[in-house]
Point group: C2
Chain length 549, copies 2
Amino acid sequence: MTTRPSTAPPADPSARALYQSMSGLAGPLSSGEGAAPDFAAAPRAAAGREPSVLILGAGVGGLTAAYELSRLGYRCTVLEPQPRTGGRSRTARNGDELYEFDGEGDSPVLTHTCAFDQGLYLNLGPGRIPYHHRRVLKYCTDLKVPLEPYVMETTANVLHSAGHTPPGAPWRNRRIANDTRGHLAALLSATLTGDDEFTGRLRDLLRKFGELDEDGEYHGSTRSGYTEPLDVHAFPAPAPPLSLAELVASEFWKHRFYQPTDYLWQPTMFQPVGGMDKIVHALTEHITSRYDVTVELRAEVTSVDLTGDGVGIGYRIGGQELTASADYCVSNIPLPVLRQLTLTGFSAEFRHAMAAVPYAPTCKVGWQANRRFWEDDHNQIYGGISWTDHPITQFWYPSNDYFSDAGTLTGAYNFGAHAEEMGKLAPADRLRLARDGAAQLHREFLEKNTVPQELGVTIAWHKVPYQLGGWADWDPSDQDHETAYKQVLEPEGDGRFYVVGDQASPLPGWQEGAMMSAQYVVAQILGLLPRTAPETVRVPDAAALTQGL
Amino acid sequence: MTTRPSTAPPADPSARALYQSMSGLAGPLSSGEGAAPDFAAAPRAAAGREPSVLILGAGVGGLTAAYELSRLGYRCTVLEPQPRTGGRSRTARNGDELYEFDGEGDSPVLTHTCAFDQGLYLNLGPGRIPYHHRRVLKYCTDLKVPLEPYVMETTANVLHSAGHTPPGAPWRNRRIANDTRGHLAALLSATLTGDDEFTGRLRDLLRKFGELDEDGEYHGSTRSGYTEPLDVHAFPAPAPPLSLAELVASEFWKHRFYQPTDYLWQPTMFQPVGGMDKIVHALTEHITSRYDVTVELRAEVTSVDLTGDGVGIGYRIGGQELTASADYCVSNIPLPVLRQLTLTGFSAEFRHAMAAVPYAPTCKVGWQANRRFWEDDHNQIYGGISWTDHPITQFWYPSNDYFSDAGTLTGAYNFGAHAEEMGKLAPADRLRLARDGAAQLHREFLEKNTVPQELGVTIAWHKVPYQLGGWADWDPSDQDHETAYKQVLEPEGDGRFYVVGDQASPLPGWQEGAMMSAQYVVAQILGLLPRTAPETVRVPDAAALTQGL
């Protein structure tokens, strides 16, 4: 790796126009739709003068930067401290080792080894792809990563809340959703007094919206399910409705019930067949086999020096201390990890920015079930999420391998205080807690033959080495975050050092954000965009974007 | 085939209890869930005295009856007039010939031959399986028919209605759905005056339900999409909302917009991988290879005689007139076809019942598209249905082979007057009409290279030989139908002749109904249920159950 001066010209208006044309969209439905920019039309690096790039971290952002830059002739090297690529895009399979800091020493400890049966897997990080995340979908198409629908919500899913009547009995999604619609529509219908055309139509809309009777009253609907199984001589009769009083008293909407309504979780969502890490594996395979990119695993970066001509990196493989240098450095390292390195030549503003944003605590739990009981005649659940006021917060059913014998379940995915508390527990205790929560939704969790304790996996992302959290917890209401977010978008070292990842995107916690960030930085390095942060910068609302709050 | 007297005893209370235990369910979530009865526990026919059964029609109902009876030792023969099994469960593929009566002569004519590329297919009849249709799902599991999710609705789907502003511009599902919710919630919130706990919580629910601001007002939501594509420095801004006035003026709800809310169309739905006819093929293969059932294709039944000891059947293969007899006869023939046969020994009440119920007109159109333009950055549509006030009524996108090159689209599926009118057109004219309707949704239909005219297929089920309609159009408000439906459930000829099919079920137009009906008749033949119609019988509401009205 040699050091040479930056060769790309600063971005001018025509370069910017070229960049815009790469991501251009037109047509009547296009406003807001979004498209992945295509760098195929970008200028290749001049032969013999190909700039070198050191990419720190083989997460989604780092791999995307390596992919785009290497196919334009840039000489890329990726340094990754873990024995695998992907960062938080991790899928647990048999034999995978999970490490966390245990709060005792400085070194992470092996918490457990995944013991799922061969062929079973569970996504520990991102688990779904919205249809409008065009970058993720484009890379999957280009790299031939097969996708299948991810089901976010089925009306057979349940909600467990202590506010329910009878206490503790889970309610079906379809009853909550449709009985609520019915009652609200009836309340509104009762307030309408006019007999003009608009009011008449509005009444008609409400009847359809809430399935009201001719008088605008709600007395239940087969949308909520049937009273009893059909037979040839019977007629589908509506399940007796939950009353508005029960629904309101339960405060069901506080348990993310309406999250699937949000744009990020609307159908049709996708997941890669075989696990989310198929994407990072395809990226890794592509850049190493096709573009000769070196991906150094177990290479832990210890220092970054911007005081020379290029960027100087110190890193460690095994016990060996090594150095490297390049024209550019793209850092996919999470900010809480980056700020622990020996950083030389960085601005005070950047140091402040790294410290300003906390990373969100979040835990997941995964179970192997030896029988897909949730798909049986009692449960009839095929994918989607059940919600609960128990600390596990949510419970995912697999959107793959329906009707097969065994399967894996996401037995917890939580945030904030619940995640903090759960993360403090030893992994075995987390599994015990998660089993309690799951058993409130499904009594099958009382049968350890069905869901063996020793096959559970758990991760507290805020305790995972090289990650230290689920995502950058950007908060638009925090004044410090405004300065910090803008600073993170600002290259350091005279346009040589760039931060990428979902941490530098409006989509914290999403692979699309990591790819968007990488493409943005690639456009800067190529000289298609100015090497400064945009004048106006909006701080992402991490809570809304990860949890639908 | 020999004739012998009926050997099964009349149903007694213990037999009925056995039948109930076969379909039993228990547990907190089970009310109304439903399960497929399992005849494995039913008594087998005595060796050497196995009764014979003639099954008329190899539709879903006939094949199900053959499957259940043959595995209990009954000797079954199926007579099917068409060169394939499945009846309305038909999937069009390259080389398939479509016949219809053209109104000129007595014989059907070949309207066209499907010219799809090899590997492409389109379901011309049933196209989806609800998660609570336990019989269909159980047979698929037992017969190892692979299933994949059928996506009924995606928020990228569009609605075209002449009432829109600007006129003719399709609206996205997500805008209609969420802006309507927002406006309705705000209207209701504004009427709330109390400050008690209930009202406070109700206000909170409405804020979440409609995504209202702190004052209970609706100013748009990212649930409806973003104003513009995201970039690293931007924040997802809500698309400007459709106004309540626009929404109400459009009367969007009259175009089946809320059909996906109904229980029959709620997620998760399924479809067999490779085409709906995989189910009937698996049933056919199983009964012929494993239980030695003879399925005679091109065997057109001409007469049924109940005056002898058993049932006598006259039928025709090619020019040859043949006869057969059996202890029992199970007729899967649609009632409008059955009543055209020479029927001897049938009651006047049954003759009246056959004539009482009309069969519903319904048309479908299928297109091959050489490019999946609906999945591109402009459209972002992966499955689901777009709705229109054009006579095509609905427009289905494939829920299979996402991200591949070509695909098939359902370019029309209509009912009532639209279906009558469309059915009157010659197939080429139907395709021209359907293209006009599709082009209002997708301008890509103006490109004949993308959607070639000569690859279109169309079917008017009410003109199809041996079918004569989409389903029995049972109407609970018609007094004649009450008598007729009960009569159809009543065996003729002293318990020897039974009608099966979705026509004799509470689910007209659904395979689950056909299977339910077959299982009911099987239980009667086995002596597990009485051989009379139940005292109380409810007439199915075909319009609601097929069209979500």
